[in-house]
C-alpha cells in the first residue's frame, strides 16, 4: 500500500510540476509586465495623494496671511497701486478661478515666481534641490550605516548592556531638537575646536564650486578630478549631515533590532543554525537580508522625517537647499515657493517610495515574482 501511495503522489507531483512549468513558461513575459504593472499600480495609487497634496497646498498657501500684492507694489505704494498689482497677479479672482489658473500653470511646469529670490520657482528649486538631496542622502547613508550595525548588535544580545546602551544612545539622538544639536555641534567643532570648517553653506568662499553635472558637489568634484575640492565639500557637509543623521538613527536602529529579533527567532534561521552554517553567514546572509525588508519601509518614513527637519538644519548651517528656501518664503508669505516646495517634496517622497518598492523587489523575490 505504501509504495503505491508513493508512486501516486509522485505521479501527481510530476503532473503538477509539468503543469506548473507550462504555466510558468506561459506567464513569464506577463510576470515581467506584472513587475512593471506593479510599479504602475503603485504610481496610480499615489495619484490621489498627489491630487490631495495639490489641493491642500493651494488652500494652505492662499490661507497664509500677508499680501503678495502689497509686497510686489513696493514700499511706498498707495492702496490703489496695490489693487492694480493684485489684479495683475490675478489675486482678485475667485479662489476657484485661481485654482484653475494654478492647475493650468502646473501643467506647463510653471510653479510661479518667487518674490524673494525674484526667480521662477521651478528654476530655484532645481538649483537648490541637489544641495538638499546631497545633505539628506548623506545623512540617510550615515544614519543607516550606523544604525544597522547598532540594531544588529542589539538584536543579537537582547537585554544585554550593549542593547540598552544602543537604545539610550539612539533615543538620546532622537530626543535632541535638530536645531539645538546643529548649534551645539558647530559651536564645539567649529568655534571651540576649529576642526570643522565654517558653517557657511556648501563650500568655503575661497573655492569655486565644481562645474555642474549632477549638482552634487561631492560627485561633481570627483568627476572633475579635484581632490582638494572634494574634501572641502565633504568638510562642509559633515556637521549638518551628522546633525540630521543623529536624529534618525533611533528609528532605523529600533526597526533593525525588532526586525532582526523577529527573524533570528524564525524557523529558517533555526534551520541554518541546525545546518551548522557559520555565525556571520547566518547573521548577515540569512537574517539581515530578511530583516532589511521592514527596515526599508522605515527608511521611507525616515526620509520624510529628514526632509522635514532638514529645514531647521539648513537654517542653522546656511545650507542653500530647498528647506531654507521654503522657510524664508513661508516667513515672507511668498506663496509660489512654498507651494512649489511642498509639491516637489511630495513628488520626491512618492518617487522615493517607488524606489523603496523596487528595492523591496530586489531583496525579496516574493514581491518581484508574485507581483
Amino acid at each position: 500500500m505504501k509504495p503505491s501511495l508513493d508512486t501516486h503522489s509522485d505521479m501527481a507531483g510530476t503532473v503538477w510540476a509539468a503543469w506548473r512549468d507550462r504555466l510558468a513558461r506561459l506567464i513569464r513575459p506577463l510576470r515581467r509586465l506584472g513587475w512593471l504593472g506593479f510599479l504602475l499600480r503603485r504610481l496610480a495609487g499615489a495619484l490621489p495623494s498627489l491630487c490631495g497634496v495639490i489641493v491642500v497646498t493651494f488652500i494652505l498657501t492662499r490661507a497664509l496671511p500677508g499680501d503678495p500684492a502689497a509686497y510686489f507694489a513696493g514700499p511706498a505704494a498707495s492702496q490703489s497701486a496695490v489693487e492694480e498689482v493684485r489684479h495683475a497677479l490675478g489675486l482678485d479672482r475667485s479662489l476657484l478661478v485661481q485654482f484653475g489658473l494654478y492647475l493650468q500653470d502646473l501643467a506647463h511646469w510653471d510653479l510661479g515666481r518667487s518674490v524673494s529670490s525674484g526667480q521662477p520657482v521651478a528654476s530655484d528649486l532645481l538649483a537648490r534641490l541637489p544641495a538638499s538631496l546631497e545633505l539628506t542622502v548623506t545623512a540617510l547613508l550615515l544614519a543607516t550605516l550606523t544604525a544597522l550595525p547598532l540594531g544588529v548588535l542589539a538584536a543579537t544580545r537582547p537585554g544585554s548592556l550593549v542593547d540598552h546602551l544602543c537604545r539610550i544612545v539612539a533615543t538620546a539622538g532622537v530626543s535632541l531638537p535638530t536645531f539645538f544639536t546643529g548649534l551645539l555641534l558647530s559651536f564645539i567643532f567649529y568655534y571651540l575646536l576649529g576642526w570643522a570648517p565654517a558653517p557657511t553653506g556648501r563650500l568655503d568662499p575661497t573655492f569655486e564650486p565644481p562645474a555642474t553635472l549632477t549638482g552634487f558637489y561631492l560627485i561633481d568634484s570627483l568627476l572633475a578630478g579635484d581632490g582638494e575640492l572634494f574634501f572641502a565639500c565633504l568638510g562642509q557637509l559633515i556637521l549638518p549631515a551628522v546633525t540630521l543623521a543623529l536624529f534618525v538613527i533611533a528609528p532605523i536602529a529600533r526597526m533593525t533590532r525588532a526586525s532582526m529579533l523577529g527573524v533570528l527567532s524564525s524557523d529558517f534561521v533555526r534551520t541554518a543554525r541546525a545546518s551548522g552554517l557559520s555565525r556571520p553567514r547566518i547573521l548577515y546572509v540569512y537574517a539581515l537580508r530578511n530583516a532589511l525588508l521592514p527596515v526599508l519601509t522605515t527608511l521611507g518614513m525616515v526620509f520624510s522625517f529628514l526632509l522635514g527637519s532638514s529645514i531647521l538644519v539648513e537654517k542653522v548651517f546656511a545650507w542653500p537647499g530647498v528647506g531654507s528656501y521654503a522657510l524664508e518664503a513661508l516667513i515672507a508669505s511668498d506663496y509660489a515657493p512654498v507651494q512649489g516646495f511642498v509639491l516637489a517634496l511630495a513628488v520626491l517622497y512618492l518617487l522615493l517610495n517607488l524606489l523603496i518598492d523596487i528595492a523591496y523587489g530586489v531583496v525579496d523575490p516574493r514581491v518581484r515574482l508574485e507581483a
Partner: protein, 535 residues
C-alpha cells in the same frame, strides 16, 4: 590718472615678481579678495524691478553708475561717511544749473564705457531716466520725491550732453540723482531684450547686469551668494583695490559672528546689536564701525483713527510710560542714539532730535486718569518679525511697563513680508517700527511719516492740516529763517500730538577684520565696495 597708471604698473610688477613665490601670490590674492556674509542677498540685479529688496540696491550701487554721487567726510568718531552736502561727478564730468534755476545741464565723461565696451551716451542717460520715472513702483516714487517725474524733463543735447528740466525748484532734485534709483543702463543692450509685454526688459535686467559700474557680476546664485569681479576698465572714479568680492547669505547671526571672529570672512553688516557691542568692546581682531542712521528712528506708533489712541492724552500717557533707558540698554545695547528727554520745544531744525518725554509713571497715570482711562484697557502691540532681535525685547519691556498704567498689551509678531501689507491696512492699534528716509531733510521724513496724504509710512493715519501746511511750505522754502521756523513748527506739533513716540535713532554697524580699510557709510545702508581695501 597718473596714480592709477602707477598702480596698474606696480601691480603688474608685483604679479610678475610674485610668480615664483606661490605663498606670496596666495596672500596677495587673499588681499584682493573680500568675503562678506550677510543675512540676506539680493532678489534682483536691477533696482527698477518690482519687489527688488534692499540688498538689490547694493548691486545697483556697485554694478551701475549714476550721473552724480556724494562726496565723503570723516565723522567725529573717525568713521568715513558720504557727505550729503557735497555732490561729486560720477558719469557726469560736470554739471551746470541754468541761471533761472529751472534746468541743469550735464556733460558726460567721453571715456566712460559699459561693461561690454559700448560708450555711455546721453541717449543711455535719457533712456534710463525715462525708464525710472515710467516703470512705476518704488523707482518712480523715489524720483518723484525730487520732482523728477516725466520723460519730457530729460533732453538729449548731443552724444555727451543731457539736460534735465525742472518742474519746480526742488532742492532734492540733484541729491535724488545720486541715489541708487537713477542708475544708467546700457540702453541698446537692454532694448534687445525688450518684449511687447515688457518694454523696459525688466525681466532681463532682473537677472543680468547692463551697467558700466566699478564691478561686474561674476556669478549670482539667488539665496546663496553673489560674486563680483572688478571692472578694470572703470574710469568714473578711483579704481577699486578689491579685485573680487564674494557676498554670501548666511542667515544665522551667530554663525556670522563666529565666522568674523575666526577670520573666515572679512565683513558683515547685519548682526544683533549685542554682538556688535561685544565685538566693539572686545578689541579683538574684529573692528566695528558705527554710524547713526541719518533720518531714521525706532518708534512706537499709535493708530489715531480709533479709540483709545484717538485721545492725545492717552498717547502722551504712553509716551511717559515707555522705559526708554532700559530699551536703550537691554534691547538696543546702546547701538543707537538716545531720542528722549529733550527740551519742550524744538530748539533748531536739526533732525532727528530728542522729544521732551521721559519715563515718568506717575505722570503717565495722571494723564490716563485725566483721559478717563484710569482703569486701563487692552490692546495689541505688533512688530515686524524681521527685526525681532531688537523688537522682541523692546516689546516685552514696553508690555511690562504699560501694565503699570493699566494697559494690558498682547504682543503680536508679524512675519516680515506681511508687515508691509499690515502697515498698509492701518488697522494695528499699537506698533513698534523703524523708518528712515534716504534724503536727509526733516521735511522729507515728515512728508512720508506725518503728512495727511497718508502715505504707507504714516502708520498712525495721522492727519493735521496745520502740520501738512508747514511740511509743504518747508519743502520749497528758500529762505533759511522761514524754513527753520516751519521745521520747528511741525516738530513741535509732532511732540505735542505724539501719534508716534520716537525711541531712539538706530545705528548702522559694520563689523570687519582689522585689515579692512576704507569703509564708508552710505544713506542706502548697502556696502560700497569701491572704497574698500585691505592693508
Amino acid at each position: 590718472m597718473k596714480r592709477r597708471l602707477f598702480l596698474q604698473s606696480s601691480s603688474a610688477v608685483t604679479a610678475l615678481t610674485a610668480l615664483p613665490l606661490g605663498a606670496f601670490a596666495q596672500a596677495d590674492r587673499r588681499r584682493e579678495l573680500l568675503i562678506v556674509a550677510n543675512e540676506l542677498g539680493p532678489n534682483s540685479l536691477d533696482i527698477h524691478t518690482v519687489g527688488a529688496n534692499r540688498p538689490s540696491y547694493g548691486v545697483s550701487w556697485v554694478c551701475y553708475d549714476r550721473l552724480l554721487t556724494f562726496g565723503a567726510k570723516r565723522l567725529p568718531n573717525g568713521v568715513m561717511s558720504y557727505d550729503f552736502s557735497k555732490l561729486e561727478p560720477e558719469l557726469a564730468e560736470s554739471w551746470q544749473v541754468a541761471s533761472d534755476g529751472m534746468s541743469c545741464t550735464f556733460k558726460l565723461r567721453r571715456n566712460a564705457r559699459f561693461h561690454d565696451g559700448t560708450p555711455v551716451t546721453a541717449r543711455d542717460v535719457k533712456w534710463s531716466l525715462d525708464r525710472a520715472v515710467t516703470v512705476g513702483g518704488f523707482p518712480t516714487f523715489q524720483l518723484k520725491a525730487g520732482s523728477i517725474e516725466k520723460p519730457e524733463q530729460f533732453v538729449v543735447i548731443d552724444d555727451y550732453t543731457v539736460r534735465i528740466d525742472y518742474l519746480r525748484k526742488d532742492k532734492l532734485l540733484l541729491p535724488d540723482l545720486a541715489t541708487p534709483v537713477p542708475s544708467i543702463f546700457n540702453s541698446e543692450l537692454v532694448k534687445k531684450h525688450a518684449t511687447e509685454h515688457d518694454p523696459w526688459a525688466l525681466d532681463w535686467t532682473k537677472n543680468n547686469v547692463a551697467g558700466g559700474g566699478a564691478y561686474r557680476l561674476e556669478a549670482w546664485r539667488p539665496g546663496q551668494e553673489i560674486v563680483y569681479v572688478r571692472n578694470d576698465n572703470w574710469t568714473n572714479g578711483p579704481l577699486p583695490k578689491i579685485r573680487r568680492i564674494v557676498q554670501r547669505d548666511v542667515p544665522s547671526a551667530g554663525t556670522r559672528r563666529a565666522l568674523l571672529e575666526k577670520g573666515d570672512i572679512d565683513m558683515s553688516f547685519e548682526m544683533p546689536p549685542k554682538d556688535f557691542l561685544e565685538m566693539a568692546q572686545a578689541k579683538g581682531r574684529v573692528k566695528v564701525a558705527t554710524v547713526p542712521i541719518e533720518n531714521a528712528l525706532w518708534y512706537v506708533g499709535m493708530n489715531v483713527k480709533s479709540a483709545p489712541f484717538n485721545n492725545p492724552q492717552i498717547r502722551q500717557a504712553v509716551a511717559y510710560a515707555l522705559p526708554y533707558e532700559r530699551i536703550y540698554e537691554d534691547a538696543m545695547y546702546r547701538r543707537a542714539e538716545k531720542m528722549w528727554g529733550g527740551p519742550a520745544h524744538a530748539p533748531d531744525a536739526s533732525w532727528p532730535q530728542p522729544h521732551p518725554y521721559v519715563y515718568d509713571i506717575p505722570k503717565a497715570r495722571a494723564l490716563m486718569k485725566a483721559a478717563g482711562a484710569e482703569n486701563g484697557f487692552e490692546t495689541t502691540l505688533s512688530y515686524d518679525l524681521g527685526n525681532a532681535t531688537v523688537s522682541e525685547p523692546t516689546c516685552i519691556l514696553i508690555q511690562e511697563s504699560l501694565a503699570l498704567i493699566g494697559i494690558k498689551v498682547q504682543i503680536n509678531k508679524v512675519p516680515g513680508a506681511n508687515w508691509r501689507g499690515a502697515l498698509l491696512k492701518k488697522d494695528m492699534p499699537l506698533i513698534l517700527n523703524r523708518f528712515g528716509g534716504w534724503l536727509n531733510y526733516p521735511e522729507y521724513f515728515f512728508f512720508w511719516a506725518y503728512h495727511g496724504q497718508d502715505a504707507v509710512f504714516n502708520t498712525m493715519s495721522y492727519q493735521n492740516p496745520a502740520m501738512d501746511k508747514l511740511i509743504d511750505a518747508s519743502r520749497f522754502e528758500t529762505d533759511h529763517q522761514r524754513y527753520v521756523a516751519d521745521v520747528r513748527g511741525f516738530i513741535d506739533i509732532a511732540w505735542n500730538d505724539v501719534p508716534r513716540v520716537p525711541l531712539a535713532q538706530p545705528a548702522l554697524d559694520v563689523a570687519m577684520q582689522k585689515d579692512v580699510q576704507g569703509y564708508r557709510y552710505w544713506f542706502h545702508l548697502q556696502p560700497d565696495y569701491r572704497q574698500i581695501f585691505k592693508s
